[in-house]
């Protein structure tokens, strides 16, 4: 249902190669946690979606993957409802049209979660951490942040990182890092996170350990 005055944004102009390029960016980011990777696929994204979020959704989401969209279906975020209600609607319209993806009402049932207001996001435990027999059945969170190098610096280590890796995401609540440590303790269960700003992404797979730095 198209809201009057709304625009349905176009998908990839070249679905095969744009999908491949976007996926390789996510694969490179996941292989090197904390490294900032430019997805670099030109695409118009319905606000509040960042171009990289839109590209990743088009590349990875389809009818097999229920998507949870923040605010559209979350009763706990009434405070920010007015600003995001309309945004969430155009976003879900975009995903349903281009990806044919079902929308998950419960974040625990989602394969992907799109979060555009991380300050108001539910705790990481609200999402699916998978089963101990099938830890791959967990939610991948696409979290849009204000910046990847302008916030509080954290030091990352773990698989994919030779020594240590610095990352400074801004616009992410402090509680996220506590929840991230608890998420790591669940291994091999746990959620995986992609931090997104503009066309840049940085991955936090569940194996990545985070230390807060004092600078």
């Amino acid at each position: 249902m198209l809201i009057a005055g709304d625009t349905l944004y176009a998908g990839f102009s070249d679905p095969v190669f744009d999908s491949q390029r976007s996926f390789r960016a996510v694969l490179e980011a996941t292989s090197h946690p904390g490294r900032i990777i430019d997805v670099g696929t030109p695409i118009g994204a319905p606000p509040p979606l960042h171009p990289a979020t839109a590209a990743i959704c088009l590349a990875l989401v389809d009818f097999e993957t229920p998507v949870w969209i923040q605010a559209a279906t979350d009763a706990n975020t009434h405070a920010i409802e007015n600003a995001t209600e309309h945004a969430a609607e155009s976003l879900s319209q975009f995903l349903r049209f281009h990806c044919s993806s079902p929308l998950a009402a419960d974040p625990a049932l989602a394969a992907f979660a799109v979060i555009h207001a991380p300050a108001h996001m539910p705790p990481l435990t609200a999402f699916s951490a998978g089963l101990s027999d099938y830890p791959d059945r967990s939610t991948t969170l696409l979290i849009q942040v204000d910046g990847l190098s302008t916030g509080r610096r954290v030091q990352l280590s773990g698989p994919g990182i030779k020594h240590t890796q610095q990352l400074a995401p801004s616009g992410i609540p402090e509680r996220f890092w506590t929840e991230w440590r608890d998420n790591g303790a669940l291994f091999p269960r746990g959620v995986d996170v992609l931090l997104i700003c503009g066309s840049d992404i940085a991955a936090l797979p569940r194996t990545t350990r985070v230390e807060m730095t004092c600078t």
Binding site: Q20, F23, L27, T30, A59, Y134, D136
Partner: protein, 351 residues
């Protein structure tokens, strides 16, 4: 020849050949100036929905190092056991800018490698190479190249049996539970029984490893000689098992430890001989029987590594090694190692 039908039509076509007029149907490919000769196929053969499904599995595999992610393996234009798992992984990641190398037991020239290289040349038009250092994606059956891999490269393994506990516990439900509970004592018992029978661990290929201190993983039937190369490798390592429908991964810079005991530490194979062609004493050697009278010689399993060394020697590079090569005795009847890949049982046919 077991080459897929349409790939067989493009024998000898390389990506650097000029684009044939027949590629008109694949406009987006043609725009990039590449020669795609297989008509009526999507880029890299698989449809986009299949690629998305495989890509999601790959991402979860990288996020959970060593864990086998189930995926909906498709029928490919060649039988299970000929590298369908590796092909599907490669097809899901490959892009127009990639440079592909395919090896089978270390060699670029063997049937499986040639077929798969031609398959991707025909269905993607990407450039192919035999140089390890030039490749962005290396699909391999049963070897890791001798030349150290670099960051940004992807090594795709063809895996016949992904489950390390399979011959010890036939039930998938049980082995899955054992992984969940990190219950790997059975594998240590198996290795211990080797020691009890033979005095040493007799497992020489597909030697079990622990990835990042957690999951027990089968490295595909690479010789245990290659196991140390997996540890903290800067390249991304992806494993595809087509028949068994599993994908798993080792991210770059990830600890990969071969199982052993304090009093029986892990050791790799060594040879008294050196390569007949290039004189290498450090690479994995294949033993080749040359006649009916017990004559045999040892040559590098990695054809690119051997070729590069010989090219260097021809330019007066490593004269000492060349001389050593000439002096290399062709001793009959004394195999330096009893477990060359030729001795592998039929179960190791790659998938």
């Amino acid at each position: 020849m077991n080459s897929p039908d349409h790939a067989a039509q493009v024998v000898g076509v390389h990506a650097d050949d000029s684009a044939p007029a027949g590629a008109a149907g694949t406009t987006s490919v043609q725009r990039k100036g590449m020669a795609v000769t297989a008509q009526g196929y999507n880029f890299a053969y698989l449809d986009e929905q299949t690629k998305r499904m495989i890509r999601r599995a790959i991402l979860k595999a990288v996020a959970i190092p060593g864990y086998q992610v189930p995926f909906g393996s498709r029928e490919m234009p060649l039988p299970y056991g000929w590298g369908t798992g590796g092909i599907q992984v490669t097809a899901a990641i490959i892009g127009p800018d990639d440079i592909l190398k395919v090896i089978d037991q270390g060699s670029d020239d063997t049937t499986n490698a040639v077929n798969i290289r031609r398959f991707f040349a025909a269905t993607t038009g990407v450039a192919t190479t035999e140089r390890t250092t030039d490749a962005s994606i290396i699909q391999t059956r049963h070897r890791i190249p001798e030349t150290p891999l670099a960051e940004g490269q992807v090594l795709v393994y063809q895996v016949p049996i992904p489950e390390p506990l399979r011959w010890l516990e036939p039930s998938e439900t049980e082995t899955r539970r054992m992984h969940a509970l990190e219950e790997y004592g059975l594998m240590h018992v198996k290795l211990y029984e080797d020691i009890a029978h033979y005095g040493h661990i007799a497992t020489t290929y597909d030697y079990p490893v622990r990835v990042n201190g957690r999951y027990l993983m089968r490295p595909s039937p690479i010789p245990k000689f290659d196991n140390p190369k997996m540890d903290m490798n800067p390249a991304l390592q992806l494993f595809g098992a087509g028949r068994e429908k599993r994908i798993y991964a080792v991210p770059p810079y990830t600890q990969v430890e071969s199982l052993d005991f304090e009093d029986h530490p892990f050791e790799i194979q060594t040879w008294d001989e050196c390569c007949e062609f290039c004189g290498s004493k450090d690479s994995f050697l294949d033993e080749i029987v040359t006649d009916d009278a017990g004559g045999r010689m040892f040559v590098c399993s990695d054809s690119d590594y051997c070729g590069q060394r010989r090219a260097g020697q021809a330019h007066g590079g490593d004269a000492a090694a060349a001389q050593q090569s000439q002096q290399s005795p062709n001793v009959p009847g004394v195999p330096g190692v009893s477990d060359t890949p030729a001795a592998q049982p039929a179960e190791t046919a790659s998938s």
